[in-house]
Amino acid sequence: MALYGQKQFHIVNHSVPREDGFDKVTGRATYAADIKYPNMIYAAMLRLVGVASAKVTKIDTSKALKLAGVLAVFTADSFPKMKSWARYFYITDTVRYVGDVIAIIAAETYAIAEEAKKLIHVTYEELPAVFDIREAMKEGAHPVHEEYPDNIFTDSIYTLRKGDTEKGFEQADLIIERTYETQYAEHAYIEPEAVVASEDSSNGEMTIHASAQNPFFTRRYVADILQIPLNRVHIIQETLGGSFGGKEEGVGLLAARAAFVCHVLHRPVKMVYTREESILESSKRHPFLLTYRAGVKKDGRIVAWEATQIGNSGAYNNQTQFLNWRACAHCAGAYDIPNIKSKTFGVFTNNVHSGAFRGYSSPQLLFAQEQFIEEIAEELGMEPLKLRLINCLRDGSTVATGAKVSEVLLPDIIEYTAKQTDYTKKYEQNKTQSGRIRKGIGMAISHRGCGYGAESPDAAGAFLIVNEDASVLLHSGIAENGQGLKTVYCQIAAEALGVPYENIRFFGTDTHRIPDCGMTVASRGTVMGSQAVKKAGEKLNLILREHACTLGFFDSGKGGAPNDRIAQDLVLREGHIFDPSYHEYQVPLADVTNIALWKGLNMAAYEWHVPDPCIQEHDTQQGRAFPTYSYTCVVAELEVDTGTGEVTLKNVHSSHDVGTAINPALIKGQIYGGIVMGWGYASMEEVVLKNGIVGSRNLDEYLIPTAMDMPNMKVSIFECDDNSGTYGAKSVGEPAIECVAAAIANALYNATGRRIRCNPAGLENVLIGRKLW
């Protein structure tokens, strides 16, 4: 298998229209901030302005409380608990970063709540603070948390040992070491976080409409603050205006705050972040300090690899350990290297906290690794393409965790993309150019473990209900984030169940209707999360065929067949049941379901899927980390104005092995979006922090690419016969971004001869090699 277009499916593998498309183009799709209740009030959050580390000693709320329309002001004292079930605080009296909330004001209108904030007087003592990875690790540095006196987040330390690096380095003809650094980046989903809480006084049930990436995760926060069982908390995920990993902890905290205010004041409560608050309190992409050391033979074989990967966790944490586990498994890039040693850990600082962000740790690691590969090639005097092809993963290779991989399209993808872009010729030509405007071409490759892997069980459930008119309701605990998950799930359900795509409705994720299926993260939605949808569909397909037999639709004589048929003789496809031997007799599914309902027959199926376990040895991280990997090659072409440092991204070719393209148009959307997001990360995006104070407060200061910034984009979709994922699908959401910044950094070097080892490549960094903020 190679380029898309050779597989045979009825509904998957086709670009069907989006399930939620009509609602979204007409403006009728409801987002959390659109929800309104009668008698609803608003709550606003107070933070210390311009202080990243402080002990609040007094909050004088008397003036605020006198303002007409103010209903209550809550401080740490008036909250039942400050600290959430995770490490973040609903409210606190010890500020560890600028986003920490120290008071919550409830009022009749949003404007009054905001006005009241100005009337609150806060007294505090400023505390020492640390902001930078190096600084935080120095002896005697201020500990951000008492539990971690040296600021090293011990739960997030992962060490990997493959082979024997000492021996490896002894064999090497050349040893090279480089350090790279990446920045804080903001998700910048266009929808700011919003929740609406309302309590049913007749039964004490708390309902939250939330812009939550993971409704079950949000539910945990609400049950925690109210100290009520999970079955009294009802989270309804409203249409989500983008998340990319960002609407996890922040929305959980917000939901809990709203729930508490709602519970105390007996009124529905709306809380919506301003964009400034969203940037202040939501998690960020982890900055990484990355050092790699490689031992290489003259012929280009990499024989030893050492990695030190340190993440800046910021002030709080609950994802660095998972992110670092993944970083550890991907510590040596998409290369087959016999001897590897790595250490990965997180460090606390008084900055905004880091969390999940599309790609998790990979865009950071690849920014370094894929430049490092080219630096090695240069030292060897070898073309980087050749070095990649000598060392890259292929059938039978072992990845860093020691597991063997098969069905590896990577070498084909690299060669195809290089050829399509005329990479080698351009790469050589660009080295000798002169003049003000310089061209550059750069490549990056990656492998990405699909789904959770050994991080945690990649289990999920699905529930399908067929109604008497043969329309279908699909329930899943994996949530639509905007990526098109509903569409893909409807396709998978339709394929497995044998009904037209249009018959299926996946209306959204609601914690009262399906078990917790884990989070919609790690690009696991399609590859693993949907396995249960397929299973439930297949199960229900059989059930409905059985009903058709039970109800006499396939008795002898029907359709000209001499004998009675059993379910196994029949096919249910595209909403019709038939015997392939007498296929002209087709029973519409609705005819069967219409009778089945009144006969009391079951027309629903629930399935739970747990993939084969992935197990690694803890101390060495050797073992099977992931069921399979997706493979990527990106080539970027750009122009640099050597007078100003201005970079124009001209062309990007992004090639991906997606296993099976469930919906090629959605995949292209993911890849286009990943390219542009990656371009932003490479060139203009940085949450500028000075002493923990966020300098990029709104979207005029935190810049993301506009339509004028996008390059010409080419997408190549490869498919293969690996069947680990649902219908053979692999991850694409995160692979779409992870190589982009690395390819751009390499293109910049090709253009200017200057390595950008500290992302992003803004004007000043390109021209004079350092940032000026």
Binding site: T109, E114, D641, D700, T706, M708, L767
Partner: protein, 304 residues
């Protein structure tokens, strides 16, 4: 109540002047509103204290771009001069596409095109941009090479100030509390070729990191007139005459433009001193100046 404001609408200039006079000091003019509405939003936190907003968008007199003779009264004589007059409420979109401005003030059209995004250009006005006097305002350098003047009016009459006189510092102007900026006027630069180059961190919706407006006139392959004004560089907009002098009388060449560009950077250091950002701004400003001069010259070449 919170943020209580009275929204007043003036339907002609005189009405506006009367309202400005009546509520002097307690009224804020609402031009395009793209900056004021942001400030009001911020004000939810910091407090903004005028009671009245004056919407002047219905005043037709302020919406024209026209060519007209203006009588200039000097100490002892009256002279009639040919001016281009841009009403204060002309939007950036209108300016960007004005045939008259394209002919007489190309750099200003380019600057107008570079402002924000379409939605902003549809409402934001040149008058508002000048009155806000932001260091990074895109129109200022282009207006400076036009030697533009602003007309300020109140019930007593009008006064005319140069852009340099009007803008007294970052965000500060010489406007009086009851005055309205009604028009911007300049002598048409018909024999000039002008250019505006903006350096931003992205290709749209960008605030200028710096920008340069430049205009050149030629005769017999020689530069006869030159005007250069960098934006975001000085506290108030100004031309860099030392760089202009380098060009005048010379034959255009890359080397010459580079030399002029370098001089603009030197002038920046002379006036603002060396700063943390100078390592970048010095070479970049030279390069942007060079680009602007080269574009202007290329227009001349393609014209002949």
């Amino acid at each position: 109540m919170v943020d209580e404001k009275d929204y007043l609408v003036a339907n002609n200039l005189n009405e506006a002047k009367v309202l400005m006079h009546e509520h002097c000091g307690n009224i804020h003019v609402l031009a395009g509103g793209t900056d004021l509405m942001v400030a009001l939003r911020e004000g939810k936190r910091s407090g903004r204290d005028t009671t009245y907003l004056l919407d002047i968008s219905n005043i037709q007199e302020l919406k024209a771009i026209e060519r007209k003779k203006v009588t200039i009264s000097d100490e002892d004589c009256n002279t009639n001069e040919d001016y281009i007059r841009i009403g204060a409420m002309v939007t950036f979109d209108e300016a960007a596409h004005s045939g008259l401005l394209l002919k007489t003030a190309g750099a200003l059209c380019e600057a107008a095109k570079s402002v924000g995004a379409q939605q902003i250009r549809n409402v934001a006005t040149i008058g508002g941009n000048v009155c806000n006097a932001a260091v990074a305002a895109d129109s200022l350098s282009a207006l400076t090479i036009l030697d533009a003047k602003v007309v300020l009016e109140d019930l007593r009459g009008e006064r005319v100030l140069s852009i340099g006189e009007f803008i007294t510092g970052p965000g500060k102007t010489a406007i009086n509390e009851d005055e309205l900026l009604t028009e911007i006027r300049f002598k048409p630069l018909e024999d000039y070729y002008s250019a505006f180059v903006k350096l931003g961190r992205r290709k749209a919706l960008a605030i200028s990191r710096m920008n340069v407006a430049a205009a050149l006139a030629f005769e017999d392959e020689k530069i006869t007139e030159a005007r250069i004004s960098p934006g975001c560089v000085f506290a108030t907009p100004r031309r860099v005459q030392s760089a202009e002098k380098i060009l005048i009388g010379e034959s255009p060449s890359e080397e010459l433009f580079m030399e002029a560009g370098e001089e603009v950077s030197k002038e920046m250091v002379r006036i603002t001193g060396r700063r943390w950002s100078t390592d970048y701004k010095y070479p970049a400003l030279s390069a942007v100046t060079f680009k602007a001069l080269a574009i202007a010259y290329n227009q001349a070449k393609s014209d002949t």
